[in-house]
Symmetry: C2
């Protein structure tokens, strides 16, 4: 496989996770300036969850530097035909690999850690939101599109 190490994330990784999420959303013509308000609000939202482990995940390392990563949360959710006896589902977010290191198997390794952790925690069902670039990998790993729809409320 690749020559990258993987390690669990922890409270000291706040800034790097924010950077990965920021870069992840700089697609479809979004600039730093456009993404910045989200990042500024994401940081204080994440901190308590990262501190107490409600947000968890892994980094991929190259020469000690986190060049990619993924996060997970267990979210409260009404029991549903896809998880009829559980009132939670796993949410996978902030999947990111630096552009020049893509297509080397890192995304797959990170996603497999998520599935293993879900199994370890006894979760029946995971969701994520895919970028256009990520969709193919997720499909290969067995993920399928849901029927989710969204509406932005006009101001």
């Amino acid at each position: 496989m690749s020559g990258f190490d993987l390690r669990p994330i922890g409270p000291d990784d706040l800034e790097t996770i924010c950077r990965h999420r920021h870069e992840m959303f700089k697609v479809s013509g979004r600039t730093d300036e456009m993404v910045a308000p989200m990042t500024e609000h994401f940081r204080p939202w994440l901190k308590p969850l990262l501190d107490d482990g409600r947000y968890f995940g892994w980094f991929a390392l190259s020469a000690g530097r986190a060049i990619g990563g993924v996060g997970m949360m267990v979210i409260d959710w009404p029991p549903h035909p896809s998880h009829p006896t559980q009132s939670s589902r796993g949410y996978v977010l902030n999947m990111y690999v630096e552009p020049e290191l893509r297509r080397m198997g890192l995304g797959r390794q990170l996603m497999e850690l998520c599935s293993q952790e879900a199994e370890r925690r006894g979760l029946d069902y995971l969701v994520l939101h895919a970028t256009k670039q990520g969709r193919g990998l997720y499909e290969k790993l067995g993920w399928a599109a849901t029927s989710e729809m969204a509406l932005t409320i006009a101001k």
Copy 2:
């Protein structure tokens, strides 16, 4: 419009909401027996949220009987480009109208109550999961498919 009254739901409506959710999921060949475990787990999950108003919504009434309804929750969510300064989104669920009373505008009226309530609460962004039957109505009201994907964890 239609001759149906609408009223907000409350704690006494627990069983009717469970019945609507149960019937809503009896599609695609799912029988009562297949949906029952979900309903049995949904009821105790819903009760505290309905009691304290974290789950709210409306019923459509015909001769005093709830022949349809919809529910909403405000869910915690990481700030996202679709709601960069908010760490929450609205979730619309349990949209149901009895089959013989569909295509009379009730679904639209219920969904408009959701949008108005979202506006009143200052929510930027709503999500739902559509049944095949519901998708057309939601699209007419401005909703669009998201990139959500899901994975069932094998046991």
